[in-house]
Amino acid sequence: MTTQDIQALSPAVPTSKGVLSRLSPLYGLLPLVAFLLFFFVGPLLLNLAESLGMTQAGIDFAQYRRIFADIYYLRVIAETIILGVAVTVICAIIGYPLAYAIARSSGLQKSLLIFAIVIPLLVNVVVRSFGWMVLLSGKGALNWVLSSFGLPTLSLMYHWGGVTIALVHVMLPFMVLSLASTLETLDPRLEEAAAVLGASRFATFRRIVLPLSLEGLMTGSILVFTLCVGSFVTVMLLGSTSTMVLPLLIYQQLNIASDWPFAAAMGMVLLTIVMSVLWLQARLRRTKWRAS
């Protein structure tokens, strides 16, 4: 903020009492903002400084040039985003009917469904990945079932296929819980009214349920996408050298090559990507609201 900006602002806040009464409704934001400013932005700046080589004199963009001047890294970035989008879309498609079922059930049935949803989160990511290996590998359970029915076997391990399946599996809870909690707030009488008025199930869904649950869909998508583009253990264990994602490269740089500056730069790139997606989503939502 320049001094002009501050001067431009100051006439609006003439007295200290005025400042307080203006800000008082925003007190609620303070604890979280302060917490994140210190404990998140602090380390983030440290990371940024590391990526720019600021421990020595001056600023050096060499690490960023390394990323953006190399078609390999650009491709990895693109594939990381594509994987994130694909997993998000699949989770939304699979998760929606499930969330709806949760919202429209009650009692024991509902509890069981909620429990079923969080099952994947109960097991450590490495252990879960080994579970998938047992299921998907050449001599695994899936192929055992397939071949006993005389069907051709599948090879899903060490490709994007297996990676995507395992990621959808663990991301689904985030999508479903987000969706279900907004669908809960939706009054079922709205749908009943639509049905009485002769709307088909699909029309009711498209015109009433879906628009009213957009907020939950957005929440779920943001959580799934951001988590997905940041995860690497699943990709490392179920993928191969040809299924590379940015966080896995970061892991290698930190743990094997011991190159924090390069890892830090890649981390900043990933952060920027996700922040842009968050911003874009906020933009889109606003234009949509304005249109409707």
Binding site: L29, G42, S111, T226
Partner: protein
């Protein structure tokens, strides 16, 4: 759910099987007598449970993880609830930017966060303290709680709260008796996610834990890199049982319908 069409119910059943399959495999493996994890499983034995339940290498971290999960969830809720209410109900300047900022920890890969946080906290003497570990986990869990809260709260109109205020309820009474019950689905969904995330978080815990604060995922991961026997499956099964018991207690106390359903 019984009112749903057959295809819908079948679909739900299929997805539930998909969700449970790899975990059921793990649970199955925990009861085998074999030294290795194979399919189909061979032999029945409780030896792996005996091993992990008497092994401080697993039990101490399990307790640590449990405490850390509860503490991170509680701290996240305390930070996120006022922020969510303010964001939805007040004119916040640059709302999109503030929101994006609050959710941004979601987008930093945890390994990067962990490394920079370690060096940052160490400057304040928190590099080896349990508080540092808690801070690290709250950074990770708080956006989930905030986002799920916003998702629910944004869909609720201000009318009920306004009515309460008009009828003379103070700010706190309105909050306790009107707002809080309305946002409960978001609170519980976010709280469950936060607890489970913290319970399973490994990158931050690896760098910020000490011999006294080792968490289960950390000890599990270092065990797993060099050993692959059903002990890992057994401790995972124990982990599942604990979470199930927790969910049951939650359900008993707050009632089945209140677990995710808002009180109307």
């Amino acid at each position: 759910m019984n009112s749903l069409p057959l295809w819908h119910r079948l679909f739900v059943a299929a997805v539930v099987i998909f969700l449970a399959a790899p975990v059921l495999i793990i649970v199955g493996v925990a009861f085998t007598s074999a030294e290795f994890v194979t399919f189909p499983p061979r032999g029945f034995s409780l030896r792996w449970f005996e091993k992990v339940l008497t092994d401080a290498q697993f039990m101490v971290p399990l307790w640590n993880s449990f405490l850390l999960g509860v503490a991170s969830t509680a701290t996240s809720i305390v930070l996120a609830v006022p922020a969510a209410i303010t964001l939805v109900r007040n004119q916040v300047p640059m709302k999109d930017a503030v929101l994006a900022f609050m959710l941004s920890p979601l987008s930093l890969p945890t390994i990067i966060l962990a490394t920079s946080l370690l060096f940052f906290l160490a400057r304040f003497g928190l590099g080896t303290s349990p508080v540092g570990l808690l801070i690290g986990h709250v950074i990770i869990t708080v956006p989930y709680v905030l986002r799920t809260l916003l998702g629910v709260y944004a869909g609720i109109g201000p009318e009920t709260e306004e009515a309460a205020r008009t009828l003379g309820a103070g700010r706190w009474r309105t909050f306790w008796h009107v707002t809080l019950p309305m946002i409960r689905p978001g609170l519980l969904a976010g709280g469950i996610l936060a607890f489970l995330l913290s319970f399973d978080e490994v990158a931050v815990a690896l760098l910020l834990s000490t011999t006294d604060t080792t968490t289960l995922p950390v000890s599990l991961l270092s065990y797993l890199v060099y050993n692959y026997d059903p002990a890992v499956a057994a401790i995972s099964t124990v982990q599942i049982v604990i979470v199930v018991v927790l969910l049951l207690i939650l359900e008993r106390c707050f009632g089945v319908n209140h677990l995710v359903l808002p009180s109307k």
